[in-house]
Symmetry: D2
Subunit: 335 residues, 4 copies
Amino acid sequence: MALNVGVIGVGKIGQDHIRRLTETLPGARVVAVSDADGARAREVASRLDGAKVYAQGEDVILAKEVDAVIVTSWGATHAAYVLASIKAGKPVFCEKPLATKEADCSAIVDAEAAFGRRLVQVGFMRRFDPQYQAMKKAIASGAIGAPLIFQSVHRNASVPAHYTGEMALTDTAVHDIDIARFLLDDEPFAIAVRAPRRNRRAGDVADPLVTLIDMRSGALVVIETSVQIAYGYDIRGEVVGETGAVSLAETSDVIVKREGAYFGCVPGDWPERFDRAFDAEFRAWIAAAAKGGAAGSSAWDGYVATAATLAGVKALSTGAREPIKLRERPALYAL
Amino acid sequence: MALNVGVIGVGKIGQDHIRRLTETLPGARVVAVSDADGARAREVASRLDGAKVYAQGEDVILAKEVDAVIVTSWGATHAAYVLASIKAGKPVFCEKPLATKEADCSAIVDAEAAFGRRLVQVGFMRRFDPQYQAMKKAIASGAIGAPLIFQSVHRNASVPAHYTGEMALTDTAVHDIDIARFLLDDEPFAIAVRAPRRNRRAGDVADPLVTLIDMRSGALVVIETSVQIAYGYDIRGEVVGETGAVSLAETSDVIVKREGAYFGCVPGDWPERFDRAFDAEFRAWIAAAAKGGAAGSSAWDGYVATAATLAGVKALSTGAREPIKLRERPALYAL
Amino acid sequence: MALNVGVIGVGKIGQDHIRRLTETLPGARVVAVSDADGARAREVASRLDGAKVYAQGEDVILAKEVDAVIVTSWGATHAAYVLASIKAGKPVFCEKPLATKEADCSAIVDAEAAFGRRLVQVGFMRRFDPQYQAMKKAIASGAIGAPLIFQSVHRNASVPAHYTGEMALTDTAVHDIDIARFLLDDEPFAIAVRAPRRNRRAGDVADPLVTLIDMRSGALVVIETSVQIAYGYDIRGEVVGETGAVSLAETSDVIVKREGAYFGCVPGDWPERFDRAFDAEFRAWIAAAAKGGAAGSSAWDGYVATAATLAGVKALSTGAREPIKLRERPALYAL
Amino acid sequence: MALNVGVIGVGKIGQDHIRRLTETLPGARVVAVSDADGARAREVASRLDGAKVYAQGEDVILAKEVDAVIVTSWGATHAAYVLASIKAGKPVFCEKPLATKEADCSAIVDAEAAFGRRLVQVGFMRRFDPQYQAMKKAIASGAIGAPLIFQSVHRNASVPAHYTGEMALTDTAVHDIDIARFLLDDEPFAIAVRAPRRNRRAGDVADPLVTLIDMRSGALVVIETSVQIAYGYDIRGEVVGETGAVSLAETSDVIVKREGAYFGCVPGDWPERFDRAFDAEFRAWIAAAAKGGAAGSSAWDGYVATAATLAGVKALSTGAREPIKLRERPALYAL
């Protein structure tokens, strides 16, 4: 029996998730959609076999035919839809951020904890990437000893015109923060941000940034974000341990030799780099949601990511190391 | 509308294909199975939702509920099932070899040509591997000039006890031969096989082998098969052109540093190495079969593979360069 | 005519330099030695063809037969010998540090500037390493745009028992600081040091450290020092620019495949990793000293290295970002 | 005491060896030269400190001041000079080939065996290359089991106008043959040559070639020579064993990322690729010749190389596998 999914927000990312659910993966169908732009909602629905269009996201959540919800609307609207989904007892996949305000994330955590079972999955796809999973496995094997430093590099060829300096933290480094927690099984407690010499391609945006996050264990996370680096979408990472280190391998399919050089390809952008991760993420979500639950990053993970990035935004403006004060973690999210 | 698939032969590989169709990919369901071992057929069917068990493969082909057929029975039985599928006008995916005898392959080619439309897809999954596709794309781009030599390396950690020396050609190098034709857009016309110093791990089997195939363009294909090399399943390849070369990159997800070395993983066996290729192969087959057709390697490709490997078997015993005499190619298979 | 060299301090590193001058490179011979341990001086001299033993380093410097001086004594004694060499108008190669105190370095700079010609070469061999030279060349070519960040990684398998936490800056990161200045053509103006979770193998020593240095251009240098990492001596580096990046390649001679992995070697220690750099360094020194001059890192470079590392030592204890206040640079050291 | 060297033939390669002896390495000086072009001999001598010019190579050999001889004249003249050197009891370094005729090589072997001590070193520099030495060490360690196949790839960006098809064997593959014997500790007994589709850049020259050599142990050597491949001078090699494999690593100093790719450099030509090997080769020769002997490839090795390449030239014209019939090996050359 296929999982009947309702999608709130059918912009670029929403449509990509719909495509994945309907064309790439088995086990789900999209039966309801809504969008702030009603015409867009109708257009998207017309290409789906029998999907209804609803005026409001809340209608999608409450629709009888909807088993589970995907929230890919504008970030500021996420919290309300996720809370409504929990209230309706329906599994919900929410694109990052879980919410743009820490208090809203916390309310979601409270609501889900009160519900007593995970319903929320946050769209940090890196946890499903085969490379990061191999990295976590290598650490867990003891091959490098206890992890002490995580160097994470996040480079975009370019970013859209509406990108702001704060987004290097809230939209870009947020992925590195979540994966750092995943790899190190650790929580952040302080953050500092350094803005080196500015890339002239970045205009007014402070780019690149080097963000340092102190984890509770003492491990240090160093994140480089370079979002206008032209040459490609390049995700690098190395975890340095007491006796060894593990890093992400290059991903080029082939090596070409010509004109005095051998070369491999760097991915052009994130859909190419993380295609397999997105597949695995939704595969896991469909399986979990079909049983009424969730997989991958939890509401707690979404809460910590927002708390850490907002502390980072403050650190960027103060130039100081800012604490990341986390609320108590409900038992539902025990490691 | 899902494609209703009947599977003839539900041994290890058949079950793996069934798993892929029912759990991994959308668009198909398995509605009928048969196996020489009836108990096994019933056991496999019991795990599928509503699949019927038939006594004979022919019954599967003729079953009304079956839209398309997968043949994963014993190699010697392939030809009859494929011919019956063509006769029934049903798309058929046949594991390699298409047939163990050249005449049977030729009869299939004739039957399909007479039918007038491709129905047959042969299971050479490498054509769907992202790495080989990138290699073909690099050649087509002109980056290396005209291709002159293809060095292909096919290493297995070990092979089963029933493996014979001829199987290094018919079961192992057959993949390299098909991918050589795909990469070079060329046909083989002669084959020679060299048996170097024998690997003591291989017992009576002549292993490794170095096979040389002359292509019509003059390009030379050099295939190393090492089927007892212990360290892993390692598929390497390089196409050497007039001005450059292109080779398959290593596939390890991570690089670990410890104890004086950095290292990456070599795949353990083919299901791991070609998992993505199998996914893409069946994704393409489902899409094509749903329209009554086929994708990937054709009956003609299956015919040439069998003709070339049988000439190779002869060359292994004679020690001479043996011609690969190909019949005329029907227009259906025009490049 | 061979350059006649006097060597002050013939411990491990002094003996290694002597070996290089007498056995590996042409153009020099060692004619005089001294050491705080007179017996050791005599023992080393006995293995050299006609080298005299002097009681004091100053005697070596003043000896008529000595054309040029190598100072490889205990760090705290460097300044006096270098000053005496300048006074004697003789070229002097001084192992790092040029001096342990900033004022002593400054006095050397003054003396050499007054002398009016470079006589001093400081032993930062990395500037002669083919890999760093290729990196500098790539930056200079414009291939990566203006450099914004330099990530430098300095890992030792282990350090001697007398190694202290401050030495991670004064003995280890000092090399990264010098090479950063070389690569970026830039001066440091502030330094901060972070001590992550401690490696239990390091006992009381704060290890690893992450040091951040702000350069005048705004470029940021991030140095990881891990001096008890067990797996090898691993020197990594990447300069990140506006449109690209350049990093040091791995140095393994061969790749071995066995037991499920492919692997390359990591150097065991610095004599192995930088053997070619040491050769080139002394080759350049012999040529320059034969003409009465010096090559490579200058007294100014030695001064900045000491100033920066001492600011780093302070930063390690205060936890704050400390300024690196540099004196005015004499015209002799114009870039 | 420096080794006094006489050089016969001071063309491009002779001058390069002289530069290495006089500027790069310690322990030798060039005291005598001769050349078929007397003006060239005088010009070269004028740049050396006190080198005499002799009219004939034989005069160089007999000159009292000459301790050891380097033969870098035209290949066809090598044998006479080497024999004269043996007669004079002087160590002689001879560029490959030792002689262009098998009988001449054999006469040298006889003469040296009669002399009773090695005097002859043949210029196969690869034996001194750190990469091939690491490869031999890996094989000797047992890491890959007994060696079964050696795949050797020898690519030149281009070759001079006077290059002929036979030279792909006598001048190019001859290096691969010598290093194969070195790596495998084995002798060749048959050779076959395949000429694939011709590179249009190569004009009338049969290029590329694939040469197959059967070794006495049964190991198979497969040599690709591509001498007009444009992209660089690329020397690749992999020894395949019973349980593993070892291959030469890439040699690029840095990896640059820009414009959608990461890339490393391929050497431009052999002086760049084998610079360290030449240094080590002459370092070893100077040390050995100073003691009246020789290192590296022996007269026997030179003999086998010529015997094998001449059999290869025959095989290229006959298209058949040709035997490599080796004379008995004198005890002097016992492995």
